[in-house]
């Protein structure tokens, strides 16, 4: 186990974590402000990836594909919120689960209808297809480095927005106590629609950026959605800072766990057991962490709500 391998996996974990953050940021605000479980969040991620692949395929430019995907998905998000999601805010959580679960079905099939059954290729820009030397014997994908940079940039932007602007203050107020925010005259519904659109755009960004790495296919939303929920539970519902910390934590544990746990286990357990349990242990440990937080500190690491 060399240092460069550890660094490589850590960077992979950071990269995955930052993409998870893009998804979790929108999700945590939806949950925090409107107390709504939105399972269709993963579908926005999928739609973004498909749009990016299609536009990039047509224009030949990856970044134009990404930009169009984000813009279009943001609009789709706004339309979705204004029509299908709004009646669900006053319903109980299980009705929200049912409705958004149905939306997943519709979205998956809709994507198949529009884009076909084939998994569209999404290639990173040619300029980034090579590797960069990060150390004496570590070469790391240039594309992944850019993904990290974009993710970190968005995180910084969100930090500025949430903590240093008036709009951000409204968002924090709404996430902390919606009733009080309303009473203070903050137009929570309109703010929320805008937020939802931004969240959708962030999903699309994550989908587009991860597309070259994870493959664009129907159902790609479901697996990342569940991880996004883990992130917001650990981080604290309604807290963007919590989403960032939680996302990086989950991303690193998942990636490094998968890479190193099988070997670590081999040192202690016989080969057969280590081979069996090793890879799964990384995933299991993430959910164990989620359960532990829910049990001992249900409000999460950075509670937003009073």
């Amino acid at each position: 186990m060399s240092v460069s391998l550890v660094v490589e996996q850590a960077l992979n974990g950071l990269q995955f974590g930052l993409m998870l953050f893009l998804m979790a940021a929108g999700l945590t605000l939806v949950f925090g402000i409107m107390d709504m479980i939105n399972l269709a969040h993963g579908s926005l991620y999928m739609i973004g990836a498909y749009l990016a692949a299609t536009v990039a395929g047509v224009t030949g430019s990856f970044w134009i594909g990404v930009a169009c995907a984000c813009a279009a998905t943001a609009l789709i998000g706004v339309a979705l919120e204004a029509t299908a999601l709004r009646p669900l805010y006053r319903r109980d959580h299980l009705s929200q689960v049912l409705a958004t679960f149905a939306m997943i079905l519709v979205a998956n099939e809709g994507v198949r209808l529009v884009f076909g059954d084939q998994s569209p290729p999404l290639n990173p820009p040619a300029a980034l297809s090579g590797a960069v030397a990060l150390g004496p014997d570590l070469r790391y994908s240039a594309y992944r480095l850019v993904v990290i940079a974009v993710g970190a940039g968005v995180a910084a932007l969100m930090y500025l927005l949430v903590n240093h602007t008036r709009v951000g203050m409204w968002v924090r107020a709404g996430a902390s106590d919606r009733g009080m925010a309303l009473a203070l005259g903050i137009d929570v519904p309109k703010l929320f629609t805008v937020l939802f659109g931004i969240g959708a755009g962030l999903c699309a960004l994550a989908g587009a950026l991860l597309g070259p790495i994870l493959a664009v296919q129907v159902g790609m939303g479901e697996s990342i959605l569940i991880l996004a929920f883990v992130v917001i539970v650990i981080g604290g519902v309604g807290s963007v800072r919590g989403a960032l910390v939680g996302a990086i934590l989950v991303g690193v544990v998942d990636t490094c766990g998968r890479a190193f746990l099988p070997q670590a286990l081999k040192a202690v357990f016989p080969g057969a057991v280590a081979d069996n349990v090793g890879p799964a242990l990384a995933s299991i440990s993430i959910y164990a962490l989620m359960a532990a937080v829910l049990f001992w500190r249900p409000q999460g690491l950075f509670p937003a709500q009073a």
Binding site: L88, L98, A102, L105, V106, L113, I226, V233, S283, F295
Partner: protein, 324 residues
């Protein structure tokens, strides 16, 4: 709908179910016997969830895991009947009389262990923590390379029942499943009217007051959750038999989501909510997939419509059960 009308309808449904295979064979629709089998198995699974969710208010988002544990119990026991033994000690078996109760027992114990932790939380946290444990079980089954891992595990044949019953025959299997489903519904009907049933309904309605009148609320939730898990285990045993196959997919969170959808669509708080929901969801799937490969779209759209238009599920459209 009056209680009498409801009872007549239930009897009618059972009679129709009993006569169905005979009619299907007559008109060369044998395929549909397998389909109704599948509906009944999921009806049983959904009914077990309804016990926890509809009657006790426990919104478990991990119930498919208990179904999966039951299915794997049967499959693993069958695997070791052919060779080897479980943990090197326990011999395998293909006898339904041992494997199916074992499935129920294993699921019940797993539910009891998970419940001991999860039931200390409430509301959205409970929903999430049950999801977390179900995911842990899912990844655990993926890691079981000796039992197929991701690829799943085949059963050489369906369980042995003896007494002249051959489960390999779809019609025989149908009647066994029907009998178990009816028995489960009958027992649940009695349970709901019993002291225990009143207690769990009370807990659903007002947990604080239940404590204040002297009920050890946690214990009752726990027992209810374990029973629901055990019942799910039986559904799992039947599922393993139906497909002659188990895979980690049966424990995936989307399967738990589907069970929740069935209960909510069918109408929680109704004894037949699970049956109605399974029949509706799988029926819609069957009808639309005959028409188009994109059947998920109209089915999803109909489910959406149901959420907005029938907030209390299909059973809710027919008026409330007297034992709400």
């Amino acid at each position: 709908m009056t209680a009498r009308a409801r009872r007549l309808l239930a009897i009618g449904a059972v009679l129709a179910a009993v006569g169905f295979p005979l009619v299907a064979m007559r008109f060369d629709l044998g395929f549909y016997v397998g389909f109704v089998n599948r509906v009944m198995i999921f009806a049983l699974a959904a009914t077990s969830l309804n016990l926890a969710l509809g009657f006790c208010g426990l919104a478990s988002f991990g119930h498919a895991a208990f179904v999966g544990v039951g299915a794997y119990t049967v499959a693993i026991l069958a695997e070791h009947a052919a060779h080897g033994s479980l943990f090197g000690v326990i011999p395998g078996t293909t006898s339904a009389w041992i494997a199916w109760p074992a499935a129920a027992a294993t699921s019940g114990v797993v539910a009891a262990l998970i419940g001991a932790i999860c039931l200390r939380t409430r509301g959205i946290h409970f929903i999430m923590i049950t999801l977390a444990f179900a995911q842990m079980l899912y990844f655990f089954t993926v890691s079981l390379k000796t039992y197929g891992g991701d690829d799943g595990l085949n059963l050489a044949h369906r369980s042995d029942v003896g007494l002249g019953v051959r489960l390999a025959d779809d019609t025989h299997f149908y009647y066994v499943v029907l009998a178990l489903l009816c028995a489960a519904l009958y027992l649940m009907g009695r349970l709901v009217r019993s002291r225990f049933g009143r207690a769990i309904v009370g807990i659903r309605e007002n947990e604080v007051r239940m404590e204040a009148i002297g009920f050890p609320v946690f214990q009752y939730k726990w027992v209810c959750f374990a029973i629901a898990g055990a019942l799910a285990g039986i559904a799992g045993a039947l599922l393993a038999n139906h497909n002659a196959f188990v895979s980690p997919n049966a424990l995936h969170w989307t399967q738990s989501g589907m069970l929740l959808v069935m209960v909510l669509v069918g109408g929680r708080e109704s004894l037949f909510g699970g049956v109605l929901g399974a029949a509706t969801l799988l029926g819609l799937e069957e009808v639309f997939s005959a028409w188009t490969t994109h059947w998920q779209l109209p089915v999803g759209a109909i489910l959406l419509a149901l959420v907005y238009l029938a907030p209390r599920g299909i059973a809710g459209l027919f008026g409330r059960e007297p034992m709400a």
